[in-house]
């Protein structure tokens, strides 16, 4: 598992039904591309977050396939429709099999 992989997410605290809200996500991850070499000239093996998904109350908002060209500490900002109060579920999948999760609640009136 990569060290110190920490997700952070930001959604508004509340919204009106039918609003499209801005969602921002960041995860601290080196996104080792697999093309860099170490001091001895050996390739540093690839290790990246290769997939990110976001759901709201079980419904899919976005499903991202990431390649090594996504920068260190992958950042995504996108929008989600919220029709009722509920919970966002965020999931990041690492090459090494680790899965990182985070949730965020929103009150919708």
């Amino acid at each position: 598992m990569a060290d110190n992989v920490t997700p952070r997410v930001r959604v508004p605290r509340d919204a009106s039904a039918g609003d499209s809200v801005s969602v921002r996500t960041l995860i601290s991850h080196p996104m080792e591309s697999g093309v860099r070499r170490d001091g001895d000239g050996n390739i540093i093996p690839r290790q990246i977050i290769n997939r990110f998904t976001c759901e709201f109350n079980g419904e899919n908002v976005i499903d991202v396939t990431l390649e090594p060209a996504i920068s260190t500490n992958p950042y995504f900002q996108f929008e989600a429709i919220v029709n009722e109060t509920g919970t966002f579920q965020f999931t990041w999948y690492d090459d090494d099999g680790s899965v990182y999760e985070e949730t965020a609640d929103i009150t919708v009136s």
């Binding site: 609003d19 499209s20 809200v21 591309s33 093309v35 759901e55 709201f56 109350n57 419904e59 899919n60 908002v61 976005i62 499903d63 991202v64 396939t65 990431l66 390649e67 090594p68 060209a69 996504i70 920068s71 260190t72 992958p74 950042y75 995504f76 900002q77 996108f78 929008e79 989600a80 429709i81």
Partner: protein, 140 residues
């Protein structure tokens, strides 16, 4: 302000050409394969898709870009001059508010960033932008 510096125009131009040379294409074949995997060779329209990238990226490690294709089912991002052209594919679900995403990508040098959108009716859109990438100097 030190005004006594002299400029050798010829050497300046050569240096400039080296920094802002022709855009890279890492592998035309890899790029075509990546595009065909998404579009199956279909024609693309250029309306209805917006790609926002800086004209000059301050550092190739972290280049902010934004892509928007109203109504799209999926958007694929490519970097024509990277060692491998694939950057990301965004699949939008039923709860997506807009079919748009902002992210930060790595660019190995000056090159075209390309976005393809697949629409629900099976048609495709395409947008391209050339991005110059400054690769430091004395930035340490």
């Amino acid at each position: 302000m030190d005004v006594s510096r002299r400029q050798f125009v010829g050497t300046g131009l050569v240096a400039a050409a080296a920094f802002f040379g022709l855009p890279r294409i890492a592998s035309a074949e890899a790029l075509e394969d990546a595009i065909n995997a998404f579009t199956s060779g279909a024609d693309t329209a250029s309306d209805g898709i917006t790609l926002i990238a800086p004209e000059i990226a301050e550092n190739g490690n972290t280049v902010p870009i934004e892509v928007d294709a109203p109504g799209a089912a999926a958007i694929m991002l490519l970097a024509a001059g990277n060692p491998s052209p694939d950057v990301a594919t965004f699949n939008f679900g039923p709860a997506a508010g807009r079919q748009s995403v902002s992210t930060r990508i790595r660019l190995a040098g000056e090159q075209e960033v390309i976005a393809f959108a697949r629409m629900p009716d099976g048609s495709f859109k395409q947008a391209r932008q050339n991005v110059r990438v400054t690769i430091g100097g004395c930035g340490g």
